[in-house]
């Protein structure tokens, strides 16, 4: 039985808080750009009202496009955040792992960028599903992304910090792999060693496998065979 205790609940709340903080920060940035564009329209209108210079229709169009672009970005972000917030509503079910990875990648864009990391998700060759609670799976994927970024934190400044997420080709074993492009990443030996991380793996009935190249790890369905 998974150790679903108070500490796990607290980790879940911490995860929710981290994503909420990143998303609301992004929302503030979108609002700031919309606010400045609206302000610029106001500046142009005031100038036209007070002098002989009419509002340039091309400039007004450009501003309108910029506002629309930010509204689109904000809308996409809110949709993803809404899906994430509703992940708690579901009982254990068959979950599409690829869909969950894309959701985490979208929601953590800001966090990943702060580590100077570029994350690329490769489409899976076969459907990749697992029986789990959506929220627990999202939490595990987030933790894997967070760990990978942290392992790249100490890499030399000129290192290309590229993380690729891909999926296994065996339809009987669900597998998500996190691979880095550099040897400069450190901390592979202590991956998921923390009891909180191990408990997260247990909750979704998965285990960690290091890649043969030594530049990544995979989350695989089922318990580890000794």
């Amino acid at each position: 039985m998974p150790n679903h205790n108070l500490s796990h609940d607290r980790e879940g709340i911490r995860f929710f808080g981290t994503l909420s903080a990143a998303v609301t920060h992004d929302m503030k940035n979108f609002l700031a750009i919309i606010n400045e564009n609206a302000g610029l329209l106001g500046d142009l209108a005031a100038r036209a009202r007070n002098g002989p210079v009419p509002v340039d229709p091309q400039k007004a169009c450009l501003i309108s496009e910029k506002i629309s672009k930010q509204v689109e970005r904000a809308d996409a972000m809110i949709k993803q955040f809404n899906r994430f917030s509703h992940s708690m509503d579901h009982a254990q079910e068959s979950v599409d792992m690829e869909e969950m990875v894309y959701l985490v990648a979208g929601l953590t864009e800001r966090i990943i960028r702060h580590h100077d990391v570029t994350l690329t998700v490769m489409p899976g060759p076969v459907p990749c599903r697992i029986q789990a609670h959506r929220f627990d799976l999202l939490h595990l994927i987030f933790r894997a992304v967070e760990m990978t970024c942290e392992m790249l934190d100490n890499a030399p400044e000129d290192t290309q910090k590229q993380v690729t997420v891909n999926f296994g080709s065996n339809p009987l074993v669900s597998e998500i792999c996190f691979l880095v492009d550099t040897e400069a990443a450190s901390g592979w030996d202590t991956l998921f060693d923390d009891p909180k991380d191990r408990s997260m793996l247990e909750l979704v009935n998965m285990h960690v496998k290091k890649t043969v190249t030594g530049r990544g790890f995979c989350l695989c369905s089922g318990r580890k065979t000794q």
Partner: protein
């Protein structure tokens, strides 16, 4: 003389529109999309104030503030952020931030803060010059 401002933010769209609006208010604006680039610019150029986002990729806001204050103690730094905790705000003010404004900011309030920052910088420069003169006079005047 107009205020010379360095605007630092990782959102390119924000940098463009903000610099256009501040320039329309008679100020000179240069931009940088990271704290590292801002620090490099400060080595060759002088500014009255820096308007900087608190959370950007690369160097953390507090670290950037410390580095800038070490490099140019008289330079005034106005932090502009989506959200800042009370702890972070207090820490930033202790290190020497001039002010902290929340995004989306009121442009008139921001330009007023920049003007105030320039006046503050001039006072500091004046004080430093006076101290230098006093020091020289003491050394050579006996």
């Amino acid at each position: 003389m107009s205020e010379k401002v360095l605007l630092v933010d990782d959102e390119q769209d924000f940098l463009e529109i903000m610099s256009e609006r501040i320039q329309a208010r008679g100020m000179t604006v240069k931009t940088a999309d990271s704290a590292d680039k801002a620090l490099a610019m400060l080595e060759n150029e002088s500014f009255d104030a820096i308007v900087m986002d608190f959370k950007m990729p690369g160097m953390d806001g507090i670290q950037a503030l410390k580095n800038i204050k070490t490099q140019k103690p008289e330079l005034q730094i106005i932090l502009l952020t989506g959200y800042a905790t009370v702890e972070k705000t207090v820490e930033a003010m202790k290190i020497g931030a001039t002010d902290l404004l929340e995004k989306p900011a009121d442009l008139e309030a921001l330009t007023a803060t920049i003007q105030k920052a320039k006046a503050e910088k001039m006072l500091l420069v004046e004080k430093k010059t006076e101290e230098k003169i006093k020091d020289i006079l003491q050394r050579f005047g006996g």
